[in-house]
């Protein structure tokens, strides 16, 4: 008997840091279950295994790197469930090949990263940047949160790099990473990038959860295009203090998930870290290694 899996039955896997995103997704689209964080808007499961047993999930969406291990992805794939993962996985080339083979056997799809191409502000910047008036790209400054753990900072750095290369329409040729921390959960990582079209990028992962801060600034010979974190927020003036309401807590996730379910490939490129591309995974794994080294030695390290 052939079991028809409904790809749109989505399980979200998050953690405490991604709870605002999980809640916002649940408010905007039907979700079959939630793992790793609680939500009043969907059924909660203690772990991925339980979720796989209890629901007829079609897609597992991994929103936090904490839950992303080679074994858990292999388990999801072997259950015939698609994997949509917010960032790269720390797997060897052999492990990647195994998962890829398994995915083909079970007819499931895996996609890693690519959220930035669904982020409304970045999409708009990408459109504007295509104008002839922008001229030659010179520089991108991308700042985002994510430094709550080593893996989260790694995901954030990979996403910033993907954003910069997408917006600058270029390929990195030189990368230098610096990293520092305060305690376990306050990491700060920077990467300076030289591109094949002579453009430069400076990427900063701030301490704090991803989404708490997001600044992108593009500089071309014809001018600047920028998207600032404070734009779009609602400022509420109370008698004793000012308060800011973030109006866009999900940013890109709903569209990213929907497109995956519908199997759309937005601007898909092999080097963009989407799908289980072994070369892209190796490059991202290398970033993690260099990040760790920079943190340990307290010096700037070339990738």
């Amino acid at each position: 008997m052939t079991v028809v899996v409904d790809d749109s039955r989505v399980i979200l896997v998050g953690d405490r840091d991604t709870k605002p995103v999980v809640d916002a997704i649940c408010q905007r689209m039907p979700v079959a279950g939630v793992v790793g964080t609680d939500s009043t808007l969907a059924d909660h499961f203690p772990d991925i295994e339980q979720a796989l047993h209890s629901t007829e999930a079609g897609t597992i969406c991994l929103l936090s790197p904490k839950q992303v291990a080679f074994e858990s992805i292999r388990r999801i794939v072997s259950a015939g469930v698609n994997v949509l993962c917010g960032g790269p996985i720390s797997a060897t080339a052999t492990q990647c090949a195994q998962i890829q083979q398994q995915a083909q056997q079970h007819g499931v799809r895996i996609r890693l990263g690519g959220r930035e191409r669904h982020e409304p502000r970045l999409k708009r910047m990408h459109q504007l940047r295509a104008s002839e008036a922008f001229g030659e790209p010179v520089y991108a400054r991308c700042v985002a949160g994510g430094g709550t753990s080593m893996d989260a900072a790694w995901w954030s750095l990979c996403e910033l790099l993907a954003s910069a290369t997408w917006l600058l329409q270029s390929t990195p040729v030189r990368m230098v990473i610096g990293a520092t921390r305060s305690g376990r959960a306050r990491l700060h990582v920077t990467m300076t990038v030289g591109m094949d079209n002579r453009a430069n990028a400076q990427l900063c992962v701030a301490p704090g959860r991803q989404g708490a801060l997001a600044d992108t600034w593009l500089l071309g010979t014809g001018g600047t295009i920028s998207s600032r974190c404070e734009d779009g927020d609602i400022i509420v003036a109370r008698p004793d203090q000012r308060h800011v309401i973030d109006t866009n807590p999900t940013g890109s996730e709903v569209e990213w998930i929907t497109d995956f379910i519908e199997d759309k490939r937005v601007g898909l490129q092999k080097d963009a870290g989407l799908q289980m591309d072994a070369a892209a995974l190796n490059a991202n794994r290398r970033l993690l290694q260099v990040m760790r080294r920079a943190l340990k030695e307290g010096v700037l390290c070339a990738v």
Binding site: G135, E136, P137, V138, Y139, R141, V143, G145, R174, V176, G178, A179, T180, R181, S182, G183, R186, H188, V189, T190, T192, G194, R198, A199, N200, Q202, C204, A206, P207, G208, A212, L213, D215, W217, L219, T221, G222, G223, T224, R228, C229, E230, G298, V299, L300, A302
Partner: protein
């Protein structure tokens, strides 16, 4: 008791200096009096005329020969606004004559010259300030954010984007690009400034105020806005990444990127990464947004033909900072006068300026070598 009045000798109005920007500050300050304008005998005719015009305008004598001018009655302070290559010598002679020093941006053209200047000032026991880096709105607001305590008990990093929206970029063909990159050392050109030095010094100054001593530097400068810079193989834009002695990571970009690319003449923004929170700081905020139709549709953004890189002119702005002195030079002058009265150092001394230059020079070396430079070992 009346507050003391300090007499200032204006040493040169070189077109590469900000002496002309200092004049209104000196004129407005109740404890400063301009005594004379002076320069050496061997300067070019254009500079000589400029100096004489300023002296006439200010109603003070013009003296040929700095040594003669240092002997004038009433000279307490020398404001150094000469070419970068002449500054060390002037600083040393003025300090040896017991004069306090107001120095425009750079002490000299090399780290050896900067060391010589620092030694001369410290040996003479005079007070010297380099006012350009520690008193501006970006520093002021960043220090305010840090002092608020909301960022945590320490910083993990500081990141600065600071550009001058000046000049008129044009397409650059491959045959207009000179490679390899021109190393540090040649600063003076008729048509360009080295912009990592010129603009990057402000970003480094901010980082100096908030972080510790720089121990490692990495820089890049591959892209150009102006054919003039590309022809010289000398940067109009660069990035710098620094590590300080506490392991803080800092980055900056600096350069000249062309008119009409920013509502208030160029981005000046910093991110402060604290142990508890991150702050974003703008130098030109709070500001007033002014969208007056005639001003906008009748504005001419083209640089003046005799100042194509806009070294001495600006462009129309639609966002006007509330502060009339975003560079903070008047705060710097107040601090300098306080330092003279109390016989203490100002907030930004020649030693700070020397360290700033050391970081920038390491950046230039890094661009040439395409690798991080370890300052602790060099």
């Amino acid at each position: 008791m009346n507050a003391p009045i300090y007499g200032v000798l204006l040493a040169s109005f070189s077109r590469h200096s900000h002496q002309s920007s200092f004049v209104p500050l000196f004129l407005e300050h109740p404890q400063i009096r301009i005594v004379a304008v002076a320069d050496e005998a061997d300067i070019d005719g254009h500079l000589d005329q400029t100096n004489r015009r300023w002296a006439e305008q200010l109603g003070v004598p013009y003296v040929t020969g700095i040594d003669r001018a240092l002997e004038l009655d009433g000279v307490d302070v020398v404001s150094i606004g000469h070419e970068i290559e002449r500054r060390t010598d002037l600083i040393c002679r003025a300090a040896a004559a017991g004069k306090h020093l107001w120095i425009d941006k750079f002490l000299g053209a090399s780290i050896d010259e900067c060391d010589t200047a620092v030694e001369a000032v410290e040996r003479a026991g005079v007070r010297a300030i380099v006012p350009s880096y520690a008193y501006g709105e970006l520093v002021n607001r960043a220090e305010f954010a840090l002092r608020s305590g909301q960022l945590g008990d320490d910083l993990l990093g500081v990141h600065v984007d600071l550009l001058f929206a000046k000049g008129w970029p044009r397409p650059i063909s491959e045959d207009q690009r000179t490679t390899p990159f021109l190393p540090a050392g040649r600063w003076k050109f008729d048509d360009i400034k080295r912009e990592l030095l010129t603009v990057g010094a402000y970003g480094v100054g901010l980082i100096q105020r908030l972080c510790g001593a720089t121990v490692q530097v990495y820089a890049q400068a591959d892209a150009y806005f102006f054919p003039e810079h590309a022809r010289h193989g000398a940067e109009d834009f660069a990035t710098l990444t620094l590590v300080d002695d506490a392991g803080r990571i800092c980055t900056l970009c600096a350069g000249r990127n062309g008119v009409a690319t920013h509502p208030s003449g160029g981005v000046a923004r910093a991110w402060l990464m604290g142990t508890q929170a991150t702050a974003t700081v703008e130098a030109k905020r709070p500001g007033i947004d002014s969208f007056l139709r005639p001003d906008i549709i009748e504005s001419d953004y083209h640089p003046l033909s005799d100042d194509p890189m806009q070294w001495h002119s600006g462009s129309p702005s639609v966002s006007i900072p509330v502060s009339g002195d975003t560079a903070g030079l008047s705060r710097g002058l107040d601090d300098f006068v306080r330092a003279l009265e109390d016989d203490v150092d100002p907030a930004y001394t020649v030693r700070h300026a020397r360290d700033n230059m050391r970081t920038l020079l390491a950046g230039y070396r890094s661009i040439v070598e395409r690798a991080p430079i370890d300052l602790a070992k060099s």
